[in-house]
Protein backbone atom coordinates (compact mmCIF):
# COMPACT_ATOMS: atom_id res chain seq x y z
CA UNK A 1 0.00 0.00 0.00
CA UNK A 2 1.50 3.31 -1.01
CA UNK A 3 1.41 5.98 1.64
CA UNK A 4 -0.62 9.08 0.91
CA UNK A 5 1.83 11.92 0.31
CA UNK A 6 1.66 14.87 2.67
CA UNK A 7 -0.70 17.37 1.14
CA UNK A 8 -2.00 20.49 2.80
CA UNK A 9 -5.56 19.93 3.92
CA UNK A 10 -7.98 22.13 2.07
CA UNK A 11 -9.42 24.65 1.58
CA UNK A 12 -6.00 25.78 0.41
CA UNK A 13 -4.44 29.09 1.26
CA UNK A 14 -4.77 30.31 -2.33
CA UNK A 15 -8.09 31.77 -3.32
CA UNK A 16 -8.51 29.20 -6.11
CA UNK A 17 -12.16 28.48 -6.85
CA UNK A 18 -13.33 24.94 -6.16
CA UNK A 19 -12.62 22.51 -9.00
CA UNK A 20 -15.84 20.68 -8.28
CA UNK A 21 -18.90 22.54 -7.06
CA UNK A 22 -22.35 21.11 -6.43
CA UNK A 23 -25.12 23.08 -4.82
CA UNK A 24 -28.56 21.74 -4.11
CA UNK A 25 -28.29 18.91 -6.63
CA UNK A 26 -31.22 16.53 -6.89
CA UNK A 27 -31.36 13.64 -9.31
CA UNK A 28 -34.30 11.46 -10.10
CA UNK A 29 -33.86 8.87 -12.81
CA UNK A 30 -36.15 8.99 -15.83
CA UNK A 31 -37.30 5.45 -15.12
CA UNK A 32 -38.78 6.48 -11.79
CA UNK A 33 -40.41 9.59 -13.17
CA UNK A 34 -41.74 7.99 -16.33
CA UNK A 35 -42.84 4.43 -16.69
CA UNK A 36 -41.34 2.88 -19.84
CA UNK A 37 -44.08 3.32 -22.39
CA UNK A 38 -45.17 1.42 -25.44
CA UNK A 39 -46.51 3.18 -28.46
CA UNK A 40 -49.98 1.70 -27.99
CA UNK A 41 -50.15 3.29 -24.55
CA UNK A 42 -49.19 6.62 -26.04
CA UNK A 43 -52.04 6.40 -28.53
CA UNK A 44 -54.47 4.96 -26.01
CA UNK A 45 -53.47 7.06 -23.02
CA UNK A 46 -53.09 10.41 -24.69
CA UNK A 47 -51.90 13.30 -22.60
CA UNK A 48 -52.03 13.65 -18.86
CA UNK A 49 -49.68 12.69 -16.06
CA UNK A 50 -48.12 9.29 -16.36
CA UNK A 51 -48.28 6.83 -13.51
CA UNK A 52 -45.19 6.78 -11.34
CA UNK A 53 -43.34 3.63 -10.48
CA UNK A 54 -42.35 3.31 -6.89
CA UNK A 55 -40.67 0.41 -5.19
CA UNK A 56 -42.94 -1.49 -2.86
CA UNK A 57 -46.06 0.31 -1.80
CA UNK A 58 -44.49 3.55 -0.70
CA UNK A 59 -45.56 6.61 -2.60
CA UNK A 60 -42.20 8.20 -1.86
CA UNK A 61 -40.46 9.21 -5.10
CA UNK A 62 -37.06 7.64 -5.58
CA UNK A 63 -34.21 10.12 -5.59
CA UNK A 64 -30.68 9.03 -6.47
CA UNK A 65 -29.33 12.23 -4.91
CA UNK A 66 -31.12 14.64 -2.59
CA UNK A 67 -30.09 18.19 -1.95
CA UNK A 68 -26.44 17.40 -2.48
CA UNK A 69 -23.74 20.00 -1.76
CA UNK A 70 -20.03 19.55 -2.37
CA UNK A 71 -16.96 21.69 -2.99
CA UNK A 72 -13.65 20.08 -3.85
CA UNK A 73 -10.63 22.36 -4.19
CA UNK A 74 -7.60 21.75 -6.42
CA UNK A 75 -5.21 19.44 -4.60
CA UNK A 76 -7.96 17.76 -2.60
CA UNK A 77 -8.81 14.07 -2.83
CA UNK A 78 -12.27 13.24 -1.62
CA UNK A 79 -13.39 9.67 -1.12
CA UNK A 80 -17.01 8.64 -1.52
CA UNK A 81 -18.27 5.57 0.33
CA UNK A 82 -21.68 4.05 0.78
CA UNK A 83 -23.71 0.95 0.05
CA UNK A 84 -24.80 -0.08 -3.44
CA UNK A 85 -27.45 2.29 -4.71
CA UNK A 86 -26.38 5.10 -2.42
CA UNK A 87 -25.84 7.49 -5.33
CA UNK A 88 -22.06 7.31 -5.67
CA UNK A 89 -21.96 6.46 -9.36
CA UNK A 90 -24.82 8.85 -10.05
CA UNK A 91 -22.69 11.61 -8.58
CA UNK A 92 -19.74 10.80 -10.84
CA UNK A 93 -21.98 10.52 -13.90
CA UNK A 94 -23.51 13.91 -13.13
CA UNK A 95 -20.05 15.47 -12.74
CA UNK A 96 -18.86 13.96 -16.01
CA UNK A 97 -22.02 15.32 -17.77
CA UNK A 98 -23.26 11.87 -18.78
CA UNK A 99 -26.39 12.58 -16.73
CA UNK A 100 -28.14 15.87 -16.15
CA UNK A 101 -29.38 16.91 -12.71
CA UNK A 102 -33.11 17.12 -12.12
CA UNK A 103 -32.54 20.20 -9.99
CA UNK A 104 -29.57 22.20 -8.78
CA UNK A 105 -26.23 23.35 -10.13
CA UNK A 106 -23.03 21.46 -10.85
CA UNK A 107 -19.78 22.93 -12.01
CA UNK A 108 -16.45 21.35 -12.84
CA UNK A 109 -13.51 23.62 -13.65
CA UNK A 110 -10.77 22.34 -15.97
CA UNK A 111 -10.25 19.24 -18.03
CA UNK A 112 -12.07 16.26 -16.58
CA UNK A 113 -11.20 12.62 -17.01
CA UNK A 114 -13.74 10.16 -15.68
CA UNK A 115 -12.97 6.51 -15.23
CA UNK A 116 -16.56 5.42 -14.75
CA UNK A 117 -15.82 1.99 -16.02
CA UNK A 118 -12.57 0.76 -17.47
CA UNK A 119 -12.67 0.12 -21.15
CA UNK A 120 -15.47 2.59 -21.72
CA UNK A 121 -15.34 3.68 -25.32
CA UNK A 122 -13.61 0.52 -26.42
CA UNK A 123 -14.89 -1.38 -29.36
CA UNK A 124 -14.38 -5.09 -29.04
CA UNK A 125 -13.70 -5.70 -32.74
CA UNK A 126 -10.98 -3.07 -33.04
CA UNK A 127 -7.37 -3.65 -32.03
CA UNK A 128 -5.97 -2.19 -28.83
CA UNK A 129 -4.09 0.42 -30.84
CA UNK A 130 -7.20 1.48 -32.77
CA UNK A 131 -9.05 1.65 -29.46
CA UNK A 132 -6.46 3.99 -27.98
CA UNK A 133 -7.23 6.42 -30.81
CA UNK A 134 -10.98 5.97 -30.44
CA UNK A 135 -10.97 6.36 -26.65
CA UNK A 136 -8.51 9.24 -26.86
CA UNK A 137 -10.83 11.14 -29.18
CA UNK A 138 -13.62 10.81 -26.61
CA UNK A 139 -11.31 12.52 -24.14
CA UNK A 140 -10.98 15.44 -26.56
CA UNK A 141 -7.60 14.57 -28.06
CA UNK A 142 -6.62 15.15 -31.68
CA UNK A 143 -4.88 12.41 -33.61
CA UNK A 144 -1.56 14.25 -33.38
CA UNK A 145 -1.82 14.50 -29.60
CA UNK A 146 -2.62 10.80 -29.31
CA UNK A 147 0.41 10.01 -31.49
CA UNK A 148 2.55 11.79 -28.91
CA UNK A 149 0.92 10.10 -25.91
CA UNK A 150 0.77 6.65 -27.49
CA UNK A 151 4.22 5.36 -26.39
CA UNK A 152 3.66 6.28 -22.75
CA UNK A 153 0.15 4.79 -22.77
CA UNK A 154 1.54 1.48 -24.04
CA UNK A 155 4.42 1.63 -21.59
CA UNK A 156 2.19 2.33 -18.59
CA UNK A 157 -0.23 -0.43 -19.58
CA UNK A 158 2.67 -2.86 -20.24
CA UNK A 159 0.78 -4.18 -23.25
CA UNK A 160 3.46 -3.58 -25.89
CA UNK A 161 3.26 -6.98 -27.62
CA UNK A 162 -0.57 -7.03 -27.64
CA UNK A 163 -1.45 -3.69 -29.18
CA UNK A 164 -2.39 -5.16 -32.57
CA UNK A 165 -4.80 -7.68 -31.08
CA UNK A 166 -8.58 -6.99 -31.12
CA UNK A 167 -9.56 -6.16 -27.55
CA UNK A 168 -12.24 -8.85 -27.56
CA UNK A 169 -9.39 -11.29 -26.92
CA UNK A 170 -8.19 -9.23 -23.93
CA UNK A 171 -8.61 -10.39 -20.35
CA UNK A 172 -10.46 -8.07 -17.98
CA UNK A 173 -7.14 -7.13 -16.40
CA UNK A 174 -5.75 -6.11 -19.80
CA UNK A 175 -8.87 -4.04 -20.45
CA UNK A 176 -8.36 -2.34 -17.11
CA UNK A 177 -4.70 -1.58 -17.77
CA UNK A 178 -5.40 -0.04 -21.14
CA UNK A 179 -8.39 1.98 -19.90
CA UNK A 180 -6.60 3.41 -16.88
CA UNK A 181 -3.50 4.22 -18.93
CA UNK A 182 -5.52 6.19 -21.46
CA UNK A 183 -7.49 8.08 -18.83
CA UNK A 184 -4.45 9.22 -16.85
CA UNK A 185 -2.41 10.05 -19.94
CA UNK A 186 -4.45 13.18 -20.68
CA UNK A 187 -3.23 14.94 -17.53
CA UNK A 188 -6.69 16.03 -16.34
CA UNK A 189 -7.35 18.78 -13.80
CA UNK A 190 -10.20 16.81 -12.29
CA UNK A 191 -10.10 13.04 -12.02
CA UNK A 192 -13.24 11.06 -11.27
CA UNK A 193 -12.53 7.45 -10.39
CA UNK A 194 -15.23 4.83 -9.84
CA UNK A 195 -14.16 1.53 -8.30
CA UNK A 196 -11.67 0.64 -10.95
CA UNK A 197 -8.52 -0.45 -9.23
CA UNK A 198 -10.02 -3.75 -8.13
CA UNK A 199 -9.55 -5.49 -11.49
CA UNK A 200 -5.81 -5.05 -11.91
CA UNK A 201 -3.18 -7.25 -10.29
CA UNK A 202 -1.24 -6.14 -7.23
CA UNK A 203 1.59 -4.69 -9.30
CA UNK A 204 -0.72 -2.63 -11.47
CA UNK A 205 -2.76 -1.44 -8.48
CA UNK A 206 0.41 -0.13 -6.87
CA UNK A 207 1.31 1.63 -10.11
CA UNK A 208 -2.13 3.23 -10.32
CA UNK A 209 -1.92 4.44 -6.74
CA UNK A 210 1.51 5.94 -7.46
CA UNK A 211 0.03 7.75 -10.42
CA UNK A 212 -2.86 9.02 -8.30
CA UNK A 213 -0.33 10.26 -5.74
CA UNK A 214 1.44 12.16 -8.54
CA UNK A 215 -1.85 13.80 -9.46
CA UNK A 216 -2.38 14.76 -5.82
CA UNK A 217 1.02 16.41 -5.67
CA UNK A 218 0.27 18.12 -8.97
CA UNK A 219 -2.65 19.91 -7.35
CA UNK A 220 -5.42 18.01 -9.11
CA UNK A 221 -8.86 17.51 -7.65
CA UNK A 222 -9.81 13.87 -7.32
CA UNK A 223 -13.09 12.23 -6.44
CA UNK A 224 -12.54 8.61 -5.54
CA UNK A 225 -15.43 6.16 -5.25
CA UNK A 226 -14.57 2.79 -3.77
CA UNK A 227 -15.66 -0.01 -1.48
CA UNK A 228 -12.03 -0.65 -0.61
CA UNK A 229 -12.09 1.34 2.63
CA UNK A 230 -8.40 0.83 3.38
CA UNK A 231 -7.45 2.40 0.06
CA UNK A 232 -9.93 5.22 0.59
CA UNK A 233 -8.37 5.92 3.99
CA UNK A 234 -4.85 5.94 2.58
CA UNK A 235 -5.59 8.08 -0.50
CA UNK A 236 -8.14 10.63 0.67
CA UNK A 237 -8.00 13.62 3.00
CA UNK A 238 -11.72 13.79 3.23
CA UNK A 239 -14.45 11.19 2.96
CA UNK A 240 -18.10 11.52 2.14
CA UNK A 241 -20.61 8.88 3.18
CA UNK A 242 -23.77 8.66 1.10
CA UNK A 243 -26.91 6.79 2.04
CA UNK A 244 -29.88 6.73 -0.32
CA UNK A 245 -28.75 9.93 -1.95
CA UNK A 246 -28.27 11.82 1.29
CA UNK A 247 -24.91 12.93 2.68
CA UNK A 248 -24.61 11.24 6.10
CA UNK A 249 -21.06 12.31 6.90
CA UNK A 250 -18.47 14.55 5.30
CA UNK A 251 -15.08 15.13 6.83
CA UNK A 252 -12.09 13.37 8.26
CA UNK A 253 -11.66 9.91 6.61
CA UNK A 254 -11.47 7.90 9.81
CA UNK A 255 -14.50 9.62 11.33
CA UNK A 256 -16.64 9.25 8.20
CA UNK A 257 -15.66 5.65 7.55
CA UNK A 258 -16.20 4.68 11.17
CA UNK A 259 -19.61 6.32 11.15
CA UNK A 260 -20.43 4.38 7.95
CA UNK A 261 -19.26 1.08 9.41
CA UNK A 262 -20.94 1.65 12.79
CA UNK A 263 -24.21 2.43 11.05
CA UNK A 264 -24.44 -1.00 9.45
CA UNK A 265 -22.34 -3.11 11.83
CA UNK A 266 -22.67 -1.52 15.27
CA UNK A 267 -19.64 -2.10 17.42
CA UNK A 268 -17.39 -3.28 14.58
CA UNK A 269 -14.88 -0.47 15.00
CA UNK A 270 -14.65 -0.87 18.78
CA UNK A 271 -12.09 -3.08 20.45
Amino acid sequence: MTQAPPIPTAPPTTAAPPAIECSGVWKQYYFYAHRPRRLKEVFAGGAGPRPRITPGNTSEPVWALRDFHLSVYPGQTVGVVGNNGAGKSTLLKLLSRILQPTRGQLRVRGRTAAIIELGAGFHEELTAKENVYLAGSFLGLRKRQINELYPQIVEFAELGPHMDMPVKYFSSGMHARLGFSIAVSVNPDVLLIDEVLAVGDVGFQAKCKDRIAQFQQGGKAILFVSHDLATVKSLCQRVLWLKEGVTMADGDPVTSINAYLEHYWPGCTKG
Binding site: Y29, Y30, F31, A33, P36, R37, R38, L39, K40, V42, K93, S96, R97, I98, L99, Q100, P101, T102, A114, I116, E117, A120, G121, H123, E125, L126, E130, Y133, L134, S137, F138, G140, L141, R142, K143
Partner: protein, 282 residues
Protein backbone atom coordinates in the same frame (compact mmCIF):
# COMPACT_ATOMS: atom_id res chain seq x y z
CA UNK B 1 -36.00 16.01 -16.15
CA UNK B 2 -33.61 18.64 -17.50
CA UNK B 3 -35.32 21.96 -17.41
CA UNK B 4 -34.19 23.19 -20.82
CA UNK B 5 -33.08 21.54 -24.03
CA UNK B 6 -30.08 23.01 -25.84
CA UNK B 7 -30.85 25.06 -28.92
CA UNK B 8 -29.66 23.91 -32.34
CA UNK B 9 -27.07 26.70 -32.39
CA UNK B 10 -25.65 25.58 -29.04
CA UNK B 11 -25.54 22.00 -30.28
CA UNK B 12 -23.90 22.89 -33.58
CA UNK B 13 -21.38 25.02 -31.69
CA UNK B 14 -20.36 22.04 -29.59
CA UNK B 15 -19.91 19.67 -32.53
CA UNK B 16 -16.52 20.82 -33.94
CA UNK B 17 -14.88 19.70 -30.67
CA UNK B 18 -16.06 16.18 -31.47
CA UNK B 19 -14.86 16.04 -35.05
CA UNK B 20 -12.16 13.51 -34.17
CA UNK B 21 -14.77 11.32 -32.44
CA UNK B 22 -16.95 11.52 -35.53
CA UNK B 23 -14.04 10.62 -37.78
CA UNK B 24 -13.09 7.66 -35.61
CA UNK B 25 -16.67 6.40 -35.39
CA UNK B 26 -17.10 6.54 -39.16
CA UNK B 27 -13.77 4.77 -39.66
CA UNK B 28 -14.81 2.21 -37.03
CA UNK B 29 -18.12 1.55 -38.79
CA UNK B 30 -16.51 1.02 -42.17
CA UNK B 31 -13.56 -0.96 -40.80
CA UNK B 32 -15.65 -3.43 -38.83
CA UNK B 33 -17.98 -3.96 -41.71
CA UNK B 34 -15.40 -4.59 -44.39
CA UNK B 35 -11.89 -4.88 -43.03
CA UNK B 36 -11.95 -8.44 -41.90
CA UNK B 37 -14.00 -9.94 -44.72
CA UNK B 38 -11.98 -11.33 -47.62
CA UNK B 39 -13.66 -9.27 -50.34
CA UNK B 40 -13.76 -6.13 -48.21
CA UNK B 41 -15.27 -3.12 -49.89
CA UNK B 42 -16.39 -5.14 -52.91
CA UNK B 43 -19.35 -6.29 -50.83
CA UNK B 44 -20.70 -2.78 -50.69
CA UNK B 45 -20.92 -2.83 -54.50
CA UNK B 46 -22.16 -6.38 -54.94
CA UNK B 47 -25.26 -5.96 -52.80
CA UNK B 48 -26.80 -2.95 -54.65
CA UNK B 49 -25.72 -4.35 -58.04
CA UNK B 50 -27.53 -7.58 -57.20
CA UNK B 51 -30.70 -5.73 -56.13
CA UNK B 52 -30.58 -3.55 -59.25
CA UNK B 53 -30.30 -6.66 -61.41
CA UNK B 54 -33.37 -8.20 -59.77
CA UNK B 55 -35.42 -5.01 -60.13
CA UNK B 56 -34.41 -4.57 -63.76
CA UNK B 57 -35.63 -8.10 -64.52
CA UNK B 58 -38.89 -7.80 -62.54
CA UNK B 59 -39.94 -4.26 -63.44
CA UNK B 60 -38.17 -3.75 -66.74
CA UNK B 61 -38.37 -7.14 -68.41
CA UNK B 62 -41.31 -8.92 -66.79
CA UNK B 63 -43.67 -6.04 -65.97
CA UNK B 64 -42.44 -3.78 -68.82
CA UNK B 65 -42.71 -0.34 -67.27
CA UNK B 66 -42.26 1.35 -70.64
CA UNK B 67 -39.37 3.50 -69.45
CA UNK B 68 -36.49 3.56 -71.96
CA UNK B 69 -33.17 2.36 -70.54
CA UNK B 70 -34.98 1.25 -67.40
CA UNK B 71 -31.72 0.17 -65.73
CA UNK B 72 -30.43 3.75 -66.01
CA UNK B 73 -33.69 5.11 -64.59
CA UNK B 74 -33.25 2.77 -61.62
CA UNK B 75 -29.61 3.74 -61.00
CA UNK B 76 -30.58 7.42 -60.96
CA UNK B 77 -33.48 6.97 -58.53
CA UNK B 78 -32.85 3.82 -56.55
CA UNK B 79 -29.26 4.52 -55.48
CA UNK B 80 -30.13 7.76 -53.63
CA UNK B 81 -33.26 6.16 -52.20
CA UNK B 82 -31.33 3.12 -50.98
CA UNK B 83 -29.02 5.53 -49.18
CA UNK B 84 -32.04 7.19 -47.62
CA UNK B 85 -33.44 3.85 -46.43
CA UNK B 86 -30.11 2.61 -45.09
CA UNK B 87 -29.28 5.90 -43.39
CA UNK B 88 -32.71 6.17 -41.76
CA UNK B 89 -32.91 2.59 -40.53
CA UNK B 90 -29.32 2.34 -39.31
CA UNK B 91 -29.24 5.93 -38.07
CA UNK B 92 -32.40 5.30 -36.05
CA UNK B 93 -30.67 2.33 -34.40
CA UNK B 94 -27.38 4.09 -33.77
CA UNK B 95 -28.01 5.53 -30.30
CA UNK B 96 -29.67 2.38 -29.04
CA UNK B 97 -26.89 0.12 -30.27
CA UNK B 98 -24.16 2.34 -28.85
CA UNK B 99 -25.76 2.48 -25.40
CA UNK B 100 -22.57 1.12 -23.86
CA UNK B 101 -20.79 4.28 -25.02
CA UNK B 102 -23.25 6.98 -23.97
CA UNK B 103 -23.83 5.37 -20.59
CA UNK B 104 -20.15 5.65 -19.77
CA UNK B 105 -18.65 8.66 -21.56
CA UNK B 106 -19.94 12.14 -22.18
CA UNK B 107 -20.23 13.27 -25.79
CA UNK B 108 -23.15 14.71 -27.74
CA UNK B 109 -25.20 11.65 -28.71
CA UNK B 110 -26.07 13.10 -32.11
CA UNK B 111 -22.46 12.34 -33.06
CA UNK B 112 -23.50 8.66 -33.19
CA UNK B 113 -26.32 9.40 -35.62
CA UNK B 114 -24.19 11.69 -37.76
CA UNK B 115 -21.42 9.07 -37.88
CA UNK B 116 -23.79 6.32 -38.99
CA UNK B 117 -25.40 8.46 -41.67
CA UNK B 118 -21.96 9.64 -42.84
CA UNK B 119 -20.68 6.08 -43.16
CA UNK B 120 -23.74 5.31 -45.27
CA UNK B 121 -23.05 8.42 -47.35
CA UNK B 122 -19.54 7.21 -48.13
CA UNK B 123 -20.92 3.88 -49.33
CA UNK B 124 -23.49 5.76 -51.41
CA UNK B 125 -20.80 7.91 -53.03
CA UNK B 126 -18.98 4.74 -54.07
CA UNK B 127 -22.18 3.29 -55.52
CA UNK B 128 -22.85 6.55 -57.30
CA UNK B 129 -19.35 6.67 -58.79
CA UNK B 130 -19.72 3.17 -60.19
CA UNK B 131 -23.22 4.04 -61.40
CA UNK B 132 -21.95 7.14 -63.20
CA UNK B 133 -19.24 5.15 -64.94
CA UNK B 134 -21.93 2.73 -66.20
CA UNK B 135 -24.13 5.66 -67.30
CA UNK B 136 -21.26 7.30 -69.19
CA UNK B 137 -20.44 4.05 -70.97
CA UNK B 138 -23.93 2.77 -71.76
CA UNK B 139 -26.65 5.35 -71.30
CA UNK B 140 -27.14 6.88 -74.76
CA UNK B 141 -30.78 6.83 -75.90
CA UNK B 142 -32.61 8.76 -78.59
CA UNK B 143 -34.73 10.57 -75.95
CA UNK B 144 -32.69 10.32 -72.79
CA UNK B 145 -29.01 10.28 -72.05
CA UNK B 146 -26.60 10.96 -69.21
CA UNK B 147 -25.06 14.46 -69.07
CA UNK B 148 -21.76 14.85 -67.27
CA UNK B 149 -21.98 18.64 -67.37
CA UNK B 150 -25.38 18.74 -65.66
CA UNK B 151 -24.28 16.05 -63.22
CA UNK B 152 -21.19 17.98 -62.12
CA UNK B 153 -23.27 21.11 -61.49
CA UNK B 154 -26.25 19.47 -59.79
CA UNK B 155 -24.85 16.53 -57.82
CA UNK B 156 -22.85 18.35 -55.10
CA UNK B 157 -25.95 20.26 -54.00
CA UNK B 158 -28.19 17.23 -54.45
CA UNK B 159 -25.90 15.06 -52.29
CA UNK B 160 -25.75 17.72 -49.56
CA UNK B 161 -29.54 18.07 -49.48
CA UNK B 162 -30.03 14.31 -49.43
CA UNK B 163 -27.54 14.04 -46.54
CA UNK B 164 -29.28 16.78 -44.55
CA UNK B 165 -32.67 15.23 -45.26
CA UNK B 166 -31.50 11.78 -44.12
CA UNK B 167 -30.04 13.31 -40.93
CA UNK B 168 -33.32 15.12 -40.30
CA UNK B 169 -35.14 11.78 -40.39
CA UNK B 170 -32.57 9.72 -38.53
CA UNK B 171 -31.97 12.15 -35.62
CA UNK B 172 -35.45 12.21 -34.05
CA UNK B 173 -36.06 8.55 -34.90
CA UNK B 174 -32.83 7.62 -33.12
CA UNK B 175 -33.93 9.41 -29.95
CA UNK B 176 -37.47 8.04 -30.03
CA UNK B 177 -36.24 4.51 -30.76
CA UNK B 178 -34.47 4.59 -27.42
CA UNK B 179 -37.69 5.51 -25.62
CA UNK B 180 -40.18 3.52 -27.73
CA UNK B 181 -38.78 0.16 -28.71
CA UNK B 182 -41.61 -0.59 -31.15
CA UNK B 183 -40.47 2.18 -33.43
CA UNK B 184 -37.64 0.22 -35.05
CA UNK B 185 -40.13 -2.21 -36.62
CA UNK B 186 -42.45 0.56 -37.76
CA UNK B 187 -39.58 2.38 -39.46
CA UNK B 188 -38.64 -0.70 -41.49
CA UNK B 189 -42.25 -1.11 -42.69
CA UNK B 190 -42.65 2.58 -43.46
CA UNK B 191 -39.47 2.66 -45.52
CA UNK B 192 -40.66 -0.29 -47.60
CA UNK B 193 -43.95 1.47 -48.29
CA UNK B 194 -42.18 4.72 -49.08
CA UNK B 195 -40.12 3.18 -51.92
CA UNK B 196 -43.35 2.31 -53.74
CA UNK B 197 -45.03 5.65 -52.94
CA UNK B 198 -42.11 7.50 -54.52
CA UNK B 199 -41.58 7.37 -58.28
CA UNK B 200 -38.58 5.02 -58.18
CA UNK B 201 -39.80 2.01 -60.16
CA UNK B 202 -42.40 4.03 -62.01
CA UNK B 203 -42.64 7.45 -63.57
CA UNK B 204 -45.02 10.10 -62.30
CA UNK B 205 -45.39 11.56 -65.81
CA UNK B 206 -46.60 8.29 -67.30
CA UNK B 207 -49.14 7.52 -64.55
CA UNK B 208 -50.44 11.08 -64.48
CA UNK B 209 -53.40 10.13 -66.74
CA UNK B 210 -54.52 7.58 -64.11
CA UNK B 211 -53.93 9.91 -61.19
CA UNK B 212 -55.23 13.14 -62.73
CA UNK B 213 -54.89 16.12 -60.43
CA UNK B 214 -54.02 13.76 -57.56
CA UNK B 215 -50.47 13.73 -58.96
CA UNK B 216 -50.05 17.21 -57.50
CA UNK B 217 -50.19 15.67 -54.01
CA UNK B 218 -46.83 14.09 -54.71
CA UNK B 219 -45.30 17.48 -54.07
CA UNK B 220 -45.83 16.55 -50.42
CA UNK B 221 -43.56 13.53 -50.71
CA UNK B 222 -40.38 15.09 -49.35
CA UNK B 223 -38.15 12.43 -50.90
CA UNK B 224 -39.43 12.91 -54.42
CA UNK B 225 -37.94 16.29 -55.17
CA UNK B 226 -34.57 15.38 -53.78
CA UNK B 227 -34.53 12.18 -55.85
CA UNK B 228 -35.56 14.24 -58.88
CA UNK B 229 -32.40 16.32 -58.44
CA UNK B 230 -30.42 13.17 -59.16
CA UNK B 231 -32.61 11.92 -61.96
CA UNK B 232 -32.52 15.15 -63.97
CA UNK B 233 -28.82 15.03 -64.93
CA UNK B 234 -28.22 11.28 -64.48
CA UNK B 235 -31.13 9.95 -66.50
CA UNK B 236 -32.67 12.76 -68.56
CA UNK B 237 -29.42 14.69 -69.10
CA UNK B 238 -31.03 18.02 -68.21
CA UNK B 239 -31.69 20.25 -65.23
CA UNK B 240 -34.00 18.71 -62.61
CA UNK B 241 -37.70 19.51 -63.00
CA UNK B 242 -40.48 19.42 -60.47
CA UNK B 243 -42.60 16.48 -61.63
CA UNK B 244 -45.50 16.94 -59.20
CA UNK B 245 -46.54 20.46 -60.18
CA UNK B 246 -44.79 20.52 -63.57
CA UNK B 247 -42.43 23.26 -62.45
CA UNK B 248 -38.98 24.02 -63.83
CA UNK B 249 -35.54 23.77 -62.25
CA UNK B 250 -36.19 26.67 -59.86
CA UNK B 251 -39.28 24.94 -58.44
CA UNK B 252 -37.37 21.67 -58.21
CA UNK B 253 -34.47 23.26 -56.32
CA UNK B 254 -36.76 25.39 -54.17
CA UNK B 255 -38.79 22.46 -52.90
CA UNK B 256 -35.70 20.27 -52.45
CA UNK B 257 -33.83 22.95 -50.51
CA UNK B 258 -36.85 23.67 -48.34
CA UNK B 259 -37.34 19.96 -47.61
CA UNK B 260 -33.64 19.35 -46.92
CA UNK B 261 -33.16 22.22 -44.50
CA UNK B 262 -36.59 22.06 -42.81
CA UNK B 263 -36.20 18.36 -42.10
CA UNK B 264 -32.66 18.79 -40.83
CA UNK B 265 -33.42 21.70 -38.50
CA UNK B 266 -36.76 20.26 -37.37
CA UNK B 267 -35.26 16.81 -36.82
CA UNK B 268 -32.34 18.22 -34.85
CA UNK B 269 -34.70 20.29 -32.68
CA UNK B 270 -36.80 17.20 -31.92
CA UNK B 271 -33.66 15.23 -31.12
CA UNK B 272 -32.50 17.94 -28.72
CA UNK B 273 -35.74 17.70 -26.77
CA UNK B 274 -34.94 14.11 -25.77
CA UNK B 275 -31.15 14.39 -25.76
CA UNK B 276 -30.68 14.92 -22.02
CA UNK B 277 -32.28 11.65 -20.98
CA UNK B 278 -30.80 9.30 -23.59
CA UNK B 279 -27.88 8.22 -21.41
CA UNK B 280 -30.19 7.04 -18.63
CA UNK B 281 -32.89 5.42 -20.76
CA UNK B 282 -30.79 3.56 -23.31
Amino acid sequence: MPASSPSILQSLGELPEYFQVLYNLVARDLKIKYQRSAMGFLWTLIQPAFMLGIYVVIFGVVLKMGIPNFWAYLIAGLLPFQFLIGATIEGARSVQSNGNLIRKIYFPPEVLVIATVTAKLIEFLLHLAVGIVLLILLHHGPEVRFSLYHALVVLPGAILLLYLFALGLALPLAAWSVIYRDLEHIIALAMTAWVYLTPIFWNLGSVRKHLGSAATWFVLNPAMDIIELFRGPLYYGRWPLNQAVGGGPLAAWGVAIAMGFCFFLGGYALFNRSKGILAEVV
